[in-house]
Symmetry: C2
Subunit: 314 residues, 2 copies
C-alpha cells in the first residue's frame, strides 16, 4: 500500500527510478519464455512441478547482522541465503524469490541488492519481484518459492523412533566466525566467510529427499534448539553420541551457535543416504545419534541437551 | 537468519510461544489434504494450476498508516488486502500468503494478526507461513501467491492502440476517507471504511481475464500515476473523457488519491467484458477513455494528466 503522506520534495531519488536501478542489478540474465519477472503488479512463473514450497524470512540490519563488523552487501547476501536454506530443508528446488526492503532515505540500496543478486545467482533462485519502502530500520523480507518434483517435501515432523540422525557437516563455523570477526579477524578468514557467506545445502537436501529420509530441517538457530524443535514436532526423543565440531570452533558453538545452515537429516535407511551422497560426489552426512521413543530423553553423551540458542524476545 | 545477539532475558514472550499464539489466530480452519501450513521450515501447497503469480508488498506503521487515526488491526488488514489486490490485477486466484513482521518488544502482535486473519479470510488467501523479528519499526511484508487456470495472467504491458479503458468503480473513496478521518469522522463512516477496509477486486479481475482483456493493473497509487505507468509499460498514449468521482470525494482525490484498489482494465472488446460482468451480477466496469498511438498524449478532458500520486523518496 502507498504511504499516507505524499512525498512532496523531489530531493531524494524517486521510487520508479530506484526500482529501475535495482531491477538491473537483481534481474536474472535469462528469463524463461512465458515468465514475467520484475515490473508488473506481480511476477508470473511457470506452473510448479510437484508440491509448491514457500517460506518467508525477515532480517533487521543491526539485529541480525552487526554494522560494525559486516557490510550491507553481506546483509543482502545472508538474508537470501538464509531464506533459500528453508527450501533446502524441505528437499525443494528453488524456483524464485521476492524481496521486500525498508530503509531510511540515503541507504546504499545498491550494495544491499548486489548482495541479494550474488546469493540469488549462487543458489539459482532468481529475484522475480520486490517492494521498497522508507522506514527507520533497514529490513529485508525474503520470500522463497520452490518445488519438489517426483516426491513429497521432507517435513521436520516425520522422524520415527529408532531412526538415524545425521548432519551435513561440522558445526559451529558461523558462530566461531562471528567471534573471530569481533576480535579483529579479516573478512576473508575462512570462519568469518562461513558467517558472511553461508551456502544453503540445496544439493544435499535434494539427495536426502531422493533417499526417502523421514525428517529434515536446517540448522539456523543451533543444534540444541533446532533438534529439540524437530523432536517436539515428530514426537520422539533423541540420544546423540557425538557432534562434529568444526576446526576453530568450540563445542558450545557447535551445539548452540546458529547460522551454520547445515541440515539435520533423520532416516531409517542410512545406507541409501550415504550411497546416494557418495554416488553424486557430495558431502557425506555425519551420523550423530538415534531417535528414541521416550520424548523426554534429549541427550548428548548421556547428558540432557537443553534447548538454547537464538530466540527472539517479542 | 537469527539475530547476532542472543536474547538473554526471558522477560519478553519467547519466540516459539508467540508464534504458537499467532498461528492459532491466522491458521485456516480447513487445510487441504497434502498441504502443510505454519510450523515447518516452509509451507507445502498443492502444485499450482496454470501460471504461478507472486507478489510482495511491505508496509510500515506510521508511514503507510497513521497511528493517530487507525489501529494495528487496520494495519494488518490493509497490508494483506493491498497485497492480494496485486493478484486481482493479474486476474489470478489467491492461493496463499506468507507474512513477515518486525516490531518492537511489547507490540500488540495479536491485534495485527487479527487484522491479517480477517483480510485472509475475506479474500480466501490463507496465511500458510510467516516470520517474526524485533525491530524499531512495525513492518509487515506480505507475499501472496496465486494461480491463473485456463489462460494467462493479464499484464499491464499488453494494452494496444485504439482500445477501451475501464475502471471497476468510482475513484477517490479511500483518499476522501483519510481526509474525513483526519477531520474527526468516525471509524465506521463509509468513506473511512473504504480507507481502512479496502476489498480487492478479485472477482472482477477473474472476469476481465475470462473476457480476454489486453491489460490490467490495480489502482494503488492513484489513477494519474498508475495509468501513466501502464501507458509506459504498453507503449501507448491515452485520452480520458471522464473519470467517475465517488460521492464525497473531490476530482483531485479521484485522479491522484491512492488506495482505491479498483482495477484499470484495457480491452479491444468492451462488449464481452460488460456482458460477462452482467451475467455474473458483478460491478459493471465504467468506460473512461481510449488508448492512442502517440505515447506523449496522456490527456484527461483534453488536458495533460501528469503523473502524480504516491511515490516514495528513497
Amino acid at each position: 500500500m502507498p504511504p499516507t503522506d505524499r512525498i512532496s520534495d523531489d530531493s531524494g531519488q524517486r521510487e520508479d527510478a530506484v526500482l529501475k536501478a535495482i531491477s538491473r542489478i537483481v534481474s536474472a540474465s535469462h528469463i524463461p519464455a512465458g515468465e514475467v519477472h520484475i515490473g508488473d503488479d506481480a511476477a508470473v512463473l511457470e506452473p510448479t512441478v510437484g508440491s509448491t514450497v514457500i517460506s518467508t524470512d525477515v532480517s533487521v540490519w543491526g539485529i541480525h547482522l552487526d554494522p560494525k563488523f559486516f557490510s550491507l552487501h553481506d546483509f543482502g547476501y545472508k538474508s537470501v541465503a538464509a531464506a533459500v536454506s528453508d527450501l533446502a530443508a524441505m528437499g525443494a528446488r528453488p524456483e524464485a524469490c521476492v524481496i521486500a526492503v525498508t530503509a531510511p532515505k540515503g541507504t546504499d540500496l545498491i550494495a544491499i541488492h548486489q548482495g541479494i543478486a550474488e546469493a540469488a545467482l549462487m543458489t539459482s533462485c532468481p529475484v522475480v519481484g520486490g517492494d521498497l519502502s522508507t522506514g527507520n530500520d533497514i529490513t529485508l523480507a525474503v520470500t522463497v518459492v520452490g518445488e519438489c518434483p517426483d516426491s513429497k517435501p521432507i517435513l521436520r515432523s516425520g522422524a520415527k523412533v529408532g531412526e538415524f540422525i545425521f548432519v551435513t557437516g561440522p558445526l559451529g563455523r558461523a558462530s566461531a566466525g562471528l567471534r573471530l570477526r569481533r576480535a579483529g579477524a579479516d573478512l576473508d578468514n575462512e570462519l568469518v566467510l562461513a558467517q558472511r557467506r553461508p551456502y544453503p545445502r540445496l544439493r544435499e537436501g535434494l539427495t536426502a529427499r531422493d533417499a526417502n529420509v523421514s525428517a529434515m530441517m536446517d540448522l539456523s538457530d543451533g543444534l540444541a534448539l533446532d533438534l529439540n524443535r524437530m523432536a517436539d514436532a515428530s514426537g520422539v526423543g533423541f540420544e546423540l553420541d557425538q557432534v562434529p565440531v568444526a576446526d576453530g570452533a568450540t563445542l558450545e558453538e557447535a551445539l548452540s551457535g546458529g547460522e551454520d545452515y547445515e541440515l539435520i537429516i533423520v532416516t531409517p535407511d542410512p545406507e541409501t543416504l550415504l550411497h546416494l551422497s557418495k554416488e553424486r560426489s557430495q558431502i557425506q552426512p555425519i551420523l550423530i545419534g538415534r531417535t528414541v521413543s521416550d520424548t523426554s530423553v534429549r541427550n548428548f553423551e548421556g547428558q540432557p541437551l537443553t534447548p538454547r540458542g537464538w530466540q527472539h524476545s517479542l
